[in-house]
Symmetry: C2
Subunit: 332 residues, 2 copies
């Protein structure tokens, strides 16, 4: 059994990683169709040693595809994902367009693969910080019953796509030459800087990214009343996100049990031996499938609380890897 | 009335800033004695247009000094600060050596200048992240009564002194040249990276830096029961720290009142107009005396809670400026 696969946004950071993963994970691909903007049409990209010509993303391009990965932003997903579903495709959408739609499963396979049974052709891939945070939170939730969490993120520029990485590199190179590169992607310089601004600001003073982390965490974990407060911060790191979390639980916590819960969970490694300087860092997580959890400790300001630090590759578990894992977990 | 002043650790990042501040703030200096390790003895540094020769830090060097700033690490302070006090100096110590000593006032002048009346010759200057956090927390405490806070820091390499800044620069320059510079100051690369490791790890899984933030906050604010949980993270930023804070209060919070409390407080600016991309960033705080507070919002996971982001120059309010402000506030 092999599938015809489409990738919308094939030339982007996530699109490129999807191509790599389809190959490296030996996903059963019968045909791969690479779709992008008209600007990229006609260029080629390599897959299993062959060059594939990029086509413009148009409704007809979806005909005959089994699975289409969308990773070209929310407005393209809103316009074209329903079109692909109408033409018989299963869409795995990396944008925020449908994530909170009650009819669309939002999935981190290690957490809620079971909801895939109810999909109606469209499946949403979560926000990158949310997916990475849940890799640490969910095993602890299963052990102690999650009630509330506070999170502060350290988000890599890859979250803004290739252009975010280009912007950081450009500013770094300018600085080394004693020059200044004017910010184009971000409102402020990102080299040697950071800012509590990821996605747009909303009425209540939180950003849309902060709301995504809260709403998506509740939906994926199936915990409608989970209390969440997050601060999302962009940092001068290339492609792995880190998150500092204080989590409060229903039941008394036990550090040994917490460590075992992380150790036993799929997709996450316990990297927690401070005496040997072992704890999660974004650089060590770059290019790595598993997220890393460390600095696990009993929280000093919560009744049944644990603090920890989690890091994961933003383009992998935060996007492309999770999307492929959804495809792998689809009911046959 | 003018003072004879000594600076121990004159060649360090904080020492250099102390010299600059004594001059720029027109501190009444009768004589300035620059003290450092034997290695630096004989070199000169400029003060008010004159070159001053650096002397080795020995007990006799304190004779005749009115005020001595110590900024050469905890072990030198432990060895020599009591010696300076014995010789009649008032010591303002930037190290952690005496901060939790019940007989030593620990002071952020905007918060607790009144305790200076009780000093016995030795006054401690707080940890940099603590001083910066309190610039945001204290005005809100006065308005609503602080009960508990969670903090995640984004700490600049200047917190490790000149060598931290040199390390980041060296790694950045190597990266641009396609090379790798081996970490010397930190356990991991800091360029394009970050790690939840500032100071040493303690038994309970928190670091000493995280304990400092908790213990020093309680002491400076005079709130012995304040519940605090922090995660301290080193980031590739040169010299300003940022901190994401979720704070819980005794009394119901009001956003307008909170904003006014920050606006009316000394030493801190409300930088909070997200619609115009105005919020605190470490780069904008570099070289600036006042700390910046922004992203002020009603916390979504606390009963009477406020979230905010605060940034401040680590060498200024986090060290040298606060030390000079203590000297300025000394009872005459």
């Amino acid at each position: 059994m092999a599938y015809t696969i489409g990738i919308v946004g094939a030339t982007g950071a996530v699109g490129q990683e999807l191509i790599t993963l389809l190959e490296s994970r030996s996903f059963p691909v019968k045909e791969l169709r690479l779709l992008a903007s008209a600007r990229s049409a006609g260029k080629t990209m390599a897959f299993k040693g062959k060059e594939i010509s990029i086509q413009e993303t148009r409704p007809e391009a979806f005909d005959g595809l089994d699975i289409v990965f969308f990773s070209a932003g929310a407005s393209i997903s809103r316009d074209l994902a329903p079109e692909a579903v109408r033409r018989g495709c299963v869409v795995i959408d990396n944008s925020s367009a449908f994530r909170t739609d009650a009819n669309v499963p939002l999935v981190v396979p290690e957490v809620n693969a079971h909801v895939l049974r109810e999909h109606k052709g469209l499946i949403a891939n979560p926000n990158c910080s949310t997916a990475i945070a849940l890799m640490g939170l969910n095993p602890l939730h299963k052990a102690f019953g999650l009630k509330r969490f506070f999170a502060a993120t350290y988000q890599a520029v890859s979250g803004s796509g290739v252009k975010g990485m280009v912007e950081l590199e450009k500013q770094i190179r300018a600085w080394v030459n004693g020059e200044t590169a004017t910010p184009e992607v971000y409102a402020h310089p990102i080299a040697f800087n950071l800012f509590p601004h990821v996605d747009v600001f909303l009425e209540d003073g939180y950003t849309k990214e902060e709301h995504k982390m809260a709403n998506e965490s509740r939906k994926i974990m199936g915990l409608g009343n989970l209390a969440i407060s997050t601060t999302c911060v962009r940092v001068p790191v290339m492609r792995a996100h880190s998150i500092a979390i204080n989590a409060e639980f229903e039941r008394p916590v036990d550090l040994a049990k917490a460590r075992k819960a992380i150790e036993d969970a799929d997709g996450v490694d316990l990297v927690d031996d401070p005496a040997s300087n072992r704890y999660p860092t974004p650089q060590a997580c770059t290019g790595v499938n598993n997220c890393a959890v460390g600095r696990l400790r009993v929280d000093s300001a919560l009744e049944n609380g644990l603090s920890f630090f989690v890091a994961g590759d933003q383009i992998l578990k935060g996007a492309a890897l999770n999307a492929i894992q959804i495809a792998e977990a689809l009911p046959r």
